[in-house]
């Protein structure tokens, strides 16, 4: 498998870094691949731009920085404005559909799949698990990490007492992702 480069973007407080960390952890620790993570915060964490660069490969990764991602996972309009132009032609955009409006800047041939992750998280009980919904959506659409691996990555990353809600959030995103991936491309 060639290296897959991923950028997760959003606002501080949305769990952008944790989302990227869980994807990398699922791939490296539980699916026995290699992964790297680069995280970038704005001057203040909450409400400012925030992104994570994740690379996943079957071999040791020599260069961890992501300039032109194969997959973009975006949770805010600012992140879309900042990163959509970097998506590789034919790449995959996964986005929070109630927070991000797509436009003509989406590269030609790119596939874009949206999810109302914030609404799903609120319906499950807490808005703050939206990043876990997104992580599940990522796994469901891409299959880059296995369902078992990402479940283990979530369980080993979240605080004690929050596991059940986080698992429900993950499965909600995963199932929605499977459905979206199977739907005909528009």
């Amino acid at each position: 498998m060639a290296k897959t480069e991923i950028r997760v973007g959003g606002l501080g407080g949305q769990g952008v870094i944790l989302c990227g960390h869980i994807i990398g952890k699922a791939a490296s620790i539980y699916d026995n691949k290699y992964a790297t993570l680069i995280q970038a915060f704005g001057p203040e964490a909450r409400g400012s731009a925030c992104s994570a660069q994740v690379s996943v490969a079957d071999e040791v990764i020599g260069y961890p920085y992501v300039k032109n991602p194969d997959i973009l996972v975006l949770m805010s309009q600012d992140a879309y404005n900042q990163f959509v132009g970097q998506l590789k032609p034919g790449g995959l955009l996964l986005y929070e559909q109630e927070l991000v409006n797509l436009d003509q800047r989406l590269p030609a041939g790119a596939r874009a799949l949206g999810i109302p992750a914030t609404r799903f998280a609120e319906e499950l009980g807490r808005r703050l698990v939206l990043n876990i919904v997104m992580a599940g959506f990522f796994a469901g659409v891409t299959g880059l990490v296995s369902a078992e691996a990402i479940e283990k990555a979530v369980l080993s990353s979240v605080p004690k007492g929050t596991e059940d809600l986080n698992m429900r959030a993950l499965r909600k995103g995963y199932e929605y992702g499977r459905e979206q991936a199977a739907a005909p491309t528009q």
Partner: protein, 198 residues
């Protein structure tokens, strides 16, 4: 809503095995039988006239597993315990859940009350509720100890707030359990999480 983790088998202190599961719409007759077995004095500790078929019918309609969640304990096809979680999805107390628990007399002091309470507290936490409250009358010592074991503390006393069957006014205690610290940890992780801190 589908509740995960149920049915949940529980072995009580005397070896009796019961099953805790979500209330079903078809449980009306068993639920009525359960509440009718309470003495009139015991029913004074309950807020509603649970021995009336009309109340049972209304309650079954209210249990939507969103704002009203009900678990029952079942033994040999009969309901021997019931717990309800009430919450609102909107407004300034949307983070608060109110819990009520009732246990059949024959099953008291055997650990069923705490098993039901533990199940509903866990359920409430998983639903994202940050604070749980329960009301007990001052002389409901067993119920009070059960909730204290689960982390509840007395937050308020409503003086002479309830009247028992003999017309004697008693204090109503409001116990609460703030589990928001669990979610504060998650909020901190989501706000500025750094794997370097692991």
């Amino acid at each position: 809503m589908h509740l995960k983790g149920f049915p949940q088998p529980v072995t009580l202190r005397d070896g009796t095995e019961v099953v805790i599961r979500p209330l079903r719409a078809i449980d009306g007759a068993e639920l009525l039988e359960f509440y009718r077995a309470f003495t009139e004095e015991e029913r004074q500790f309950l807020r509603d006239d649970v021995s009336s078929p009309e109340w049972i019918e209304r309650f079954l309609k209210k249990v939507d597993f969103e704002e009203v969640v009900s678990l029952v304990a079942e033994l040999d096809g009969a309901i021997v315990g019931e717990t309800t979680l009430y919450r609102t999805r909107y407004g300034w107390t949307r983070h608060v859940g109110e819990i009520r628990v009732a246990v059949a007399r024959d099953l008291r002091r055997k650990g069923l009350g705490i098993a039901l309470s533990r199940a509903v507290v866990k359920l409430a936490t998983n639903l994202g509720i940050e604070k749980m409250v329960v009301q007990v009358v001052e002389n409901q010592v067993g119920a009070r100890h059960t909730f204290e074991k689960l982390g509840f503390t007395q937050e308020a006393t409503l003086r002479a707030h309830v009247k028992d069957i003999r017309g004697l006014k008693r204090d109503l205690l409001v116990l609460s359990n703030d589990v928001s610290h669990i979610w504060h940890a998650m909020e901190a992780m989501v706000a500025d999480y750094s794997p370097m801190h692991e």
